[in-house]
Structures are given as C-alpha cells and as structure tokens.
Amino acid sequence: MRRLISHLGPVIMLMAGLGFAIGAATSLELGSFRRMGPGAFPLLVGAVLSLLALTALIENLRRPMHVDKADPWAVLGVIGGVSAFAFLTPLAGVLPATALAVFATGSVIPEFRWPYRIALALGVSMAVWLIFVLGLGIPFVAIRGL
C-alpha cells in the first residue's frame, strides 16, 4: 500500500505537466519560432516536466522512495487557526480573530497547557496591535464596533 502511495507523487506531477502542456497547446496561441505566442513557453516547460515526471516514476518503480506519514492533528490545527482568522476578521475585527487563531493552533499541541494557551493568545493579540496598528499604521479594523 505505501508503495502505491509512493508512486502517487510522480503521477501527480505527470498530470500537472500534461495539464499545462495540453492546456497551452489547445487553448493558447503557439505562434511561430520567430514570434512565439503565449502558449509556446508553457507547452515547452510542461513537456519537460512530464518527461522528468516519467523518469521519476520509472525510478520510483524500481526503487520506491520513502513517503513520510502525515500528522492529521497538526494539519487540522493549522487549518483551524487560519480559518478562524479568516472567518472572524470580518465579523469581529483582527484582534479577536488573532486570539482565536493562536488558541486554535495551540490546542493541538498536547504538552501546551490551557492557562498558557490563553496567555499566549492574549499576548500575541497585544503584540499585533502594537506592531501592526500602532507601529506600522496599517488600517485594520482592530475590534469591530469599538
């Protein structure tokens, strides 16, 4: 199974290369050698990428490259943090969004204790206000309704 997953990497790259090359050839002007159109260069690079991906795939079939295991909690923590920021900023302002994002990302670290998570969330919000709003003068809505 892990062997099959390992082949997936070069296959994805092959698809990306073919995708760009075919997309360039079918929907963009290729032009002549002398006056190249917008599609010529992407077609060339896409073709090179496909060839390289094929080479890597053959190499991988002979000697599969080790694939690292994903850490779903870490990914979830980061996605949760960024999403919290993006959702809360228009609703409540940058500072509450910052606090929640720090809190959300911090929650997936097991050895990080609750009081410290809250303290870090508040501290980082303060720092963001000091550096970005006061220091650099970026026109953020710090806290909506204030």
Binding site: R35, E59, D68, A74, V102, E111
Partner: protein, 505 residues
C-alpha cells in the same frame, strides 16, 4: 578613488537612523530564528515580506539581508549547546562544537564562532566590493540568449543540491515556472491558466506562495514534533580562547572564508555546501586533523567562517546578474521587483545608493551581531530554554496578519492556506518546495529572454549553443547535471574490478 566615492555614498545611505534601526531589527530577528531549530531564515524572510512593502526599497533590503546573514550567527548556538543545528549550514559546527561544550568549553566555542563568523563575513564583503562591479560590467555584454542560459544554469544548480535528487529538484523548478505563467501574458495581453477567475489575472502573488510553501507548511511539519529545549547549566568556564587557540584558528579562518566566498558566489550552492566543503578541506590540510570531531577549535572556526562568507557573497550573483544564489535570495529579488527595481547588471549603475548602501550596512550589521553574540550571548542561551510551542501558533497568526495587511483581502489568506497544504503534501512525497520558489521568481524573466532571443535569431533555436557565452553556460549546467545523475561511482568500481580480473588472468 571610484571605490572610495562609492563607499562614501553607501555610508550616507546606510548610516541614516531609519536604516540603522531596520538593520538592527533584521540581524536581531535573524539571530533569533537562527537560534531556534526548526524555523529557518527562509520562513522569516517570507514573513517579513509584507512589512518590507511599507519601507523604502533600500531599507527593506537592508532588513531582509540582516535576517539572512544574522541567522548564520545564531545557527551555531544550538549546534554547540544542543547538538541540533539551528540552521542547516550550522550542522557541521555540531561535529566539534558539541564536544567542546561537553568538555566545559562552551564559552570558548561560542566566542570563537562569533569572531570567526565576523571574520568570514568581512572577508565576504571585501570579495563582494571587489568582484561585484566587475562582474556586472562583464554581464552588460550579455544578450537575451546568455541571460536565458545563465538562468538555466542557476535553476539547474539549485535543483542538483536538492536533498531528494536532481530529477525531483528539476521537477519542482518546472512546476514553479509553470505557476509563474498564470495570469496575463505581458507580450500578447492574453490570459493564461486562470480558469476564468478574476483574481488570478495579475498572477499568483509571491507573498502568498512564499508564506504558504514555507511558513504554513513548515509549521505543519514541526507543530507537534518532538521539541527539546536546553537544560544545560548555561555558560560556565572561560569565554576567551587561549593564545595558542587564537594562533591555531587564524589560517583555518582564512581558508574557510576563501572556500565560503567561492561557494557563496556560485549560484545554487550556498552556506551549507560551503561549510561542508570547508570542513572537509581543512581536515585534509590541518596538522591537528586527528583532533577533529573531538572538540578541535578549528572545527568550529572553519565552518562558521565559511558559511558567513558565503552568506555575504551570495549577494553577488543576486545583485549583479539577477540570478538568486538560494531560495531566500529569490525572495529578496521578488521584494525588489515588487518595489519596481529590476535586478540585473544595470542595478549597480542605476541604483548605486541601494547597492553600496547594502554593502556598508553589512559592516554595521556584523558589528551589531558581534555585540549580540558576545556580551549578550546569555539572552540566546536563555531563549533555548523556552519551550518551542509558544512559537508556532504565533507564526501562523503573523502569516495571516501579514498577508491580510498587504492586500486587505481574505481571499489571499485562503490562498496562502491552500499553498500551505500543497507544500505539506509535496514534502510528504519528498518534493522540496524550495526549487519551486526559485522557478516561480525566475520563470517570467526566463520566458521573456527566451522569446526575445528567438526573435533576435529569427526563429533559430540553435542561438543558445552557437553563441559562445551561452554555450559555455549551458555546458556548465549540463556538466552539473551529468555529475549528479550518472552513476560515476558505480562505473569506477566496475572498471576497477574489471582491471583486477584482467590482472589475475
């Protein structure tokens, strides 16, 4: 006399209060992230890109450069005290630095790395002052074909040092170039690969790509990783090396700086290669080579002088040819381009204040670093005791605030997250995202020169090998590729066993 006038101009630019302040901020942050294992200068420069938009270009470059070379100073501290390199280029310093700390000579090791770093950096700056204007003058002779070939060389060099192999490195370069073609084509005005999405017409933003690939995905990798903080006794024992240690260090420092300056100038190789080669070379020529690996002072002096010299000379190809020597340099080029400055051989002539101001700021920056690393060394040792989990949530928020701050659009924040996930998946599959970023920055320029060269040659693709300059550059690139891809070692062994067999008969 010309040189003196230029340096005076540089001094006038670098010695303003604003530039000195941002130089200090840069080297301070550089040391900070250098000390902490797991976060490299690349992520730090990516995170500072948005801030740099609010500054004039020379100030922005002074600050970003400070982060870059400041990290080299900080990187050795964790190597010596924890046996974990703070930056990849400080990994060689572990070999002798950690044994020195175990013998109770941590103070001496830290002191001599700071001095060696300063020595290497100053050596690199001198090389840069002498070499860069000459190289730029020479590069003015370049025509589009040569520019294209020099970029091919830079990209090949960047991918062959990639840890997952040259083929995979080159694949990432191609992917980066293709990503760079998204948006409106400047020659024809046609949109490419936008899928009808309006926001993509201007192309994908460098900040979004860099922060996603290096900030977000790096946090995903290290967020829940084993973190070790320093539990040692702190600095005990003397700080100053003895007279014989000073004497033993002098020639190695010169040799290290020379090796470092060479590999720093070569595009694609950088501090890490410099420190490895410097150490290996010193082990061959040094009289005390038997002590290497057991706490020899030369073993910390050589890699540190080499990687700091390389950190300074890496600016030579970046600023004279527009070819970034490393991924971090690619980001700095990107920052310059966002400020409307085109990197290339005309940069020194057109923006002398920028170039010479930067050179002089290196001197100030290194003085700041020496102060940060000798009298204030205690701060960094204490920093190593702080648990790392405070860092990562903070980094995530800084990325969000930074992206949101420049574009005021939450779409960009989502796009950054998307690139973060892509970068993480690529890493799982053993594709390093670093060459991709270099391809992304160089791609549009490369296409431009490719099309111009073909136009000038009236559609004859042999122009790239019929012009001697271009042919020579491509030959070097081909040689680099052949040197890594072909199984030389196997052939030599086979040849040797064949000879032995013949000899037996």
């Amino acid at each position: 006399m010309d040189l003196l006038a230029n340096l005076a101009l540089g001094l006038a630019t670098a010695a303003t209060a604003q530039n000195l302040f941002y130089c200090f901020v840069g080297v301070f942050l550089g040391t900070f992230i250098g000390v902490l294992p797991g976060v490299g200068p690349l992520a730090a420069v990516a995170m500072l890109l948005p801030v740099s938009f609010y500054l004039p270009p020379e100030t922005a470059l002074v600050m970003l450069a400070g982060v870059y070379y400041g990290a080299e100073y900080g990187g050795s501290i964790a190597s010596i005290l924890l046996n974990i390199p703070g930056t990849p280029s400080a990994s060689v310093t572990c070999l002798d630095g950690y044994p020195m700390a175990q013998q109770g000579r941590a103070g001496v090791a830290l002191f001599s790395t700071a001095i060696a770093s300063m020595f290497g950096a100053m050596f690199g700056v001198v090389v840069m002052v002498l070499l860069a204007p000459k190289l730029a003058e020479f590069a003015l002779l370049f025509q589009p074909a040569e520019y294209f070939s020099v970029m091919v060389l830079g990209l090949v060099a960047a991918s062959v040092v990639s840890s997952s192999g040259a083929v995979r490195g080159l694949m990432m370069v191609c992917l980066g170039i293709l990503l760079g073609t998204v948006g409106v084509d400047v020659n024809s005005g046609e949109t490419r690969f936008t899928g009808g999405i309006q926001e993509l017409r201007d192309g994908v933003s460098l900040v979004v790509v860099a922060m996603g690939l290096f900030g977000i995905s790096e946090v995903m990798v290290s967020l829940r990783g084993a973190t070790q903080s320093y539990a040692g006794a702190g600095l005990t024992g003397r700080l100053l090396p003895t007279r014989s240690e000073w004497q033993r260090s002098f020639m190695p420092a010169i040799r290290g700086s020379t090796v470092g300056s060479f590999f720093g100038t070569l595009p694609g190789t950088g501090q890490t290669v410099a420190s490895f080669v410097g150490y290996a070379l010193e082990k061959r020529v040094n009289r005390n080579r038997a002590e290497f690996g057991k706490g020899a002072i030369e073993g910390v002096v050589v890699p540190e002088s080499a990687n700091n010299a390389a950190a300074q000379t890496a600016f030579i190809p970046t600023l004279t040819l527009g070819i970034p020597g490393s991924t971090t340099m690619a980001l700095m080029l990107g920052a310059l381009m966002i400020h409307g400055i085109t990197p290339g051989p005309r940069l020194i002539a057109e923006h002398p204040d920028l170039f010479w101001g930067l050179v002089v700021s290196f001197v100030f920056g290194n003085i700041f670093l020496l102060i940060l690393n000798i009298p204030l060394i205690g701060i960094w040792v204490r920093l190593l005791r702080v648990p790392h989990y405070y860092l990562y949530p903070t980094v995530i928020v800084l990325i969000c605030v930074g992206v949101f701050g420049i574009s005021n659009s939450l779409t960009d924040v989502w796009a950054t997250l998307t690139f973060g996930v892509i970068g993480y998946v690529l890493r799982l599959f053993r594709f390093e995202p670093a060459p991709m970023l270099i391809g992304f920055v160089l791609g549009p320029m490369m296409e431009e020169y490719f099309r111009r060269a073909m136009l000038l040659s009236r559609g004859d693709p042999t122009v790239f090998i019929s012009r001697p300059g271009s042919a020579a550059l491509l030959a070097v690139a081909a040689f680099l590729l052949a040197a890594t891809i072909l199984p030389w070692k196997q052939w030599v062994l086979q040849g040797m066993s064949a000879v032995r067999n013949v000899g037996l008969k």
